[in-house]
């Protein structure tokens, strides 16, 4: 039972497996059993995860099980809603069924954030050149995902849009290339430079505004097993009309902010501490402020050139 790319299976088989909860997604370090109940999330999954390795059948073990389902068995007859259910009594908020792709993506994020302890997880995007990685820390309104998507166009490979996944032994980051989540204005920006077919249809009126996803490329998935050593971390700040600015920040502050952004640092304990301290050793951290995607790319490329040759 070896995993094959999703698109290599008969479509009908894949759909049947998704609906019966017998499809296991093998992505990066994690296997996730996925069960979907509505057409929209199935279509989204088949499209966005087409290049990902999956197995069908009920024999595969998985780290996580995710069900996107109606909130309860009665309600499905009344209202069209779904919730992501990562299987440990985490009742996230119900969403209208039209937003089931969001529920799916939220559920996959929750699974990693709350159930993974084999790696230290930090809330950040990660891209890499070969085996050298750049961490883009998440800051509200900072434009992490837009910057991540823009760097993909510059030839960087995507490790993850949502999490820096730190190996506890060797201070390197693992790939988990899932769709990059784009909000509001950045959707059209990314459609502009990545091409229409690289971005999913837009979900309007979600709790976070409009959302669309930029798919990981086949190359990102093929190279996901190659770990990358982080060299630079940026804390992005998008400010309308701002002149590009860049300021080095103290690694002690960086450590503090990364710990605060980690859902599992406290649980893992000592190995997360030593892992993080080892990772930071020799890294450079910067706060960058910009008013346009071009400026952000220029800032990052300058920093990268001066520290990583």
């Amino acid at each position: 039972m070896t995993a094959r790319p999703l698109e290599k299976y008969m479509k009908a088989d894949a759909i049947r497996a998704l609906k019966s909860g017998t499809l296991v997604l093998e992505l990066g370090a994690f296997s996730t059993r996925v069960k979907l109940s509505d057409r929209r999330s199935v279509a989204f999954f088949l499209d966005m995860y087409a290049d990902c390795l999956v197995t069908l059948g009920d024999c595969a073990l998985s780290d996580f099980s995710l069900t996107v389902r109606p909130p309860n068995q009665f309600r499905k007859y009344f209202r069209h809603q779904v919730v992501p259910d990562p299987g440990f009594g985490f009742p996230a908020a119900p969403l209208p069924v039209s937003m089931s792709p969001l529920a799916l993506e939220m559920g996959l994020n929750l699974s990693v954030a709350l159930q993974c302890f084999r790696y230290a997880i930090f809330h950040a995007g990660v891209v890499a050149e070969g085996d050298q990685a750049l961490i883009i820390a998440a800051k509200s309104g900072g434009g992490k995902s837009t910057l991540t998507a823009a760097l993909m166009e510059e030839g960087w490979r995507l490790l993850s849009d949502e999490f820096a996944i730190l190996d506890l032994e060797e201070a390197s980051l693992r790939g988990y290339p899932r769709p990059v989540s784009l909000k509001n204005a950045s959707i059209d920006v990314v459609r502009g430079f990545a091409g229409k077919d690289q971005v999913s249809e837009t979900l309007h009126g979600t709790p976070k505004g409009s959302i669309a996803y930029r798919r990981p490329r086949r190359g990102d998935i093929e190279r996901m097993a190659l770990p990358a050593r982080p060299r630079v971390i940026v804390f992005p700040a998008f400010t309308e009309g701002a002149a590009p600015r860049c300021q080095e920040i103290d690694l002690a502050d960086t450590a503090m902010q990364l710990i605060a952004s980690s859902p599992n640092y406290q649980v893992i304990g000592e190995r997360a501490f030593t892992g993080l301290m080892t990772m930071l050793d020799g890294m450079k951290a910067y706060e960058i402020e910009y008013g346009s995607t071009e400026d952000s790319l220029a800032l990052v490329s300058d920093l990268w050139r001066s520290h990583v040759s």
Partner: protein, 100 residues
């Protein structure tokens, strides 16, 4: 709030096996193996940690001797500050009492 009752006669120590340390500039990151929690210490709290590491002292001795250890004049290191500093380490379980 304090970790618990205290007395100037009680003997305290910091056990170096119960934590690990990384330094970044003047900041010391301490991971406590007992609590599983990470703490950031500055130069002064770090000095208190060193002052007690492997060297048991009564609270009275800590209060009396810390200014000298820091090499600062006594008036710059009032006993109230020393006691509070001790309490902060006590609170997070980094100092441990040696029972008589």
């Amino acid at each position: 709030m304090s970790a618990g009752p205290n007395s100037d006669d009680w003997v305290w120590v910091v056990d170096p096996d119960h934590f690990i340390i990384y330094e970044i500039g003047d900041t010391t990151f301490v991971f406590s193996r007992l609590s599983g929690t990470t703490h950031m210490l500055n130069l002064v709290s770090r000095a208190m940690l060193d002052f007690l590491t492997g060297k048991p002292k009564t609270l009275g001795e800590v209060v009396a001797g810390f200014a000298d250890y820091l090499q600062v004049p006594k008036e710059e290191c009032p006993s109230g500050v020393v006691r509070r500093l001790f309490d902060e380490l006590d609170d997070v379980g980094l100092v441990e009492r040696i029972l008589p």
